[in-house]
Subunit: 219 residues, 2 copies
DNA sequence: CTATTATTAGAGTTATTACTCTAATTCGTC
DNA sequence: GACGAATTAGAGTAATAACTCTAATAATAG
C-alpha cells in the first residue's frame, strides 16, 4: 500500500480515537514512522487529508442509501440500510463529531457537505415514502419529511451522544450493543406509523434483530 | 458588574460566535480590555471558565424542566418547555457544539454532565408520561422512554444541525424561524401519538404557534 | 494614615503546531 | 549503470496558546 493511502488510513484511525482537534500532522507522521516532510509531500495540508476522508465517506454512504432497483422495498431493506449506515458512520465517527469546525475551516467542504446532506435527506425521505407505498407505514408526505429529518439527526448524532452520555472517560470501546441501540432508536421513530396489517410482524422482526439493549432501560 | 462576571459573559459571547476552539484566553482578555494576567487572576484556567458556564446552563435548564406543581400538565406547558429550552440552548450553543472535546478534557465535568443528562432525560420522560396520563398522548412507557431520548437528541443537536446544513459560512444569524424549526421538529416526534380526542385541537394549536418554517419545505 | 489584601498590567515562558526547505535516497527506464 | 523524477528524512521556522511572574495600583480595615 502506498504512503498516501497509509497516511489516510492512519489519520482516520487517529482522528476517530482522539478527535481531529487532538491529532496533529506530526502525530500522524510519527505513528507511521515517516517524517512530517514526507506527509506534506503527499498532502498540501491537514484539511486536504480530511477532505479526502470525506470523499471516501460520502461515496460509501451514497452507495448504501441507493434504493433497491426494480423491486418493491421491504422491511429487511430498512434494516440493512441502517446497519450499513451505522457501520460506516462508526468508521468515520470523528467526522460528525467535529463537523462544525471542519466546515467552518473549509468553505468548499461546507458547500459539498450541504449537497451531501440534501441528497441523503431526499434519499431517506424516499425510503419512507416507499415504505408507505408498500403499505408498511401509514405516513403522509409531511410525516415522511419529518421522519427523514429526525432520522438524519438521530443517526448523525448517535456516536457523539454515546461518547458524551454513556461512555466514561477511557473506554472508547464500541460494543455491538451500542450500534444496535442507535438502530433501535431510529426504528422507534417509525414505530407509531406502522400499519395494523404489518405492525405485529415488523415489531416481532425488529425485536428479533434489534433487541433493545440493556443499558437503554434505565432505572 | 465585576470583572469575573464580565469575563464569563464575554467568554460565552465569543465561544458562541466562533466556537470554544477558536477563542483563546488572550482573545477574551483583549476584547474585555484587560490583561491576560488579570483573567488568570480570576480563573485558574480556561476550563474553569467553561465549567462556570456549564453551571449556569445546567441550573437554568433544570429550572425550566421542572414539572408544574399541583396541577395537570397541558399542551401549552409543552410549548413553553420547548420555547424556553431552545432559547437557553441558543444562549449556550457552543456547549453542545464542542461537548465531546470539553468533556474529554475535563473528566470531572464529564461526570457532572452525565448526571445532568440522566436528570433531563427522566424529566422529559415524565413530561411525556404526564401528557399520556392527561389523555393527550397515547403512548406506553416504552414509547415515552424512546420519545424522551429522541427529543433529547434532536434538541441538543439542533443548532449544530442548522450550522452545518443550512447556514452558509458567514451568516451566523439565528432567525426566529430557525428556533421554531427546532420546536416544530420536536413536536413532529409526538404527533403520531396524539389521541383522536385531542389530535385536531393540538395540531391546530401547533400550526398557529409553530408553523412549519418555509425553509423546511424543500423542493 | 498605614498595613494588608484584592486587583490589575504586561512582559515573558514553555510548549505545541502547522508547515517549509534542503539535501539525500530510492525508483523506474533506457 | 546513468539519469531524471518521485519520494523521503529531518532539521528548522513562524505563529500561536495557555499560562506564569513580578511589580504596580486600587480598595479596605483598623
Amino acid at each position: 500500500m502506498g504512503t498516501r493511502e497509509r497516511i489516510i488510513d492512519v489519520a482516520l484511525e487517529m482522528f476517530n480515537e482522539n478527535g481531529e482537534r487532538a491529532v496533529t500532522t506530526n502525530h500522524i507522521a510519527s505513528r507511521l514512522g515517516i517524517s512530517p516532510g514526507n506527509l506534506y509531500y503527499h498532502f498540501r495540508n491537514k484539511q486536504a487529508i480530511i477532505a479526502n476522508l470525506f470523499d471516501r465517506y460520502e461515496q460509501r454512504v451514497l452507495e448504501i442509501l441507493a434504493l433497491p432497483e426494480g423491486r418493491v422495498i421491504e422491511t429487511q431493506d430498512k434494516l440493512r440500510y441502517l446497519t450499513d449506515v451505522f457501520n460506516e458512520l462508526w468508521a468515520y465517527r470523528f467526522m460528525h463529531r467535529d463537523m462544525e469546525h471542519l466546515l467552518s475551516a473549509d468553505p468548499e467542504l461546507h458547500e459539498r457537505y450541504r449537497g451531501f446532506f440534501s441528497h441523503c435527506l431526499r434519499q431517506i425521505e424516499n425510503i419512507f415514502l416507499a415504505l408507505s407505498g408498500a403499505g408498511i407505514l401509514s405516513a403522509d408526505e409531511q410525516d415522511c419529511q419529518d421522519l427523514a429529518l429526525n432520522t438524519w439527526i438521530v443517526v448523525t448524532s448517535w456516536f457523539s451522544f454515546l461518547q458524551c452520555n454513556l461512555l466514561s472517560g477511557d473506554e472508547s470501546v464500541i460494543t455491538q450493543d451500542m450500534l444496535q441501540g442507535g438502530i433501535y432508536q431510529v426504528f422507534s421513530l417509525e414505530r407509531p406509523y406502522l400499519t395494523p396489517d404489518h405492525r405485529d410482524d415488523v415489531l416481532a422482526l425488529q425485536r428479533a434483530f434489534i433487541p433493545r439493549p440493556d443499558w437503554m432501560q434505565r432505572r
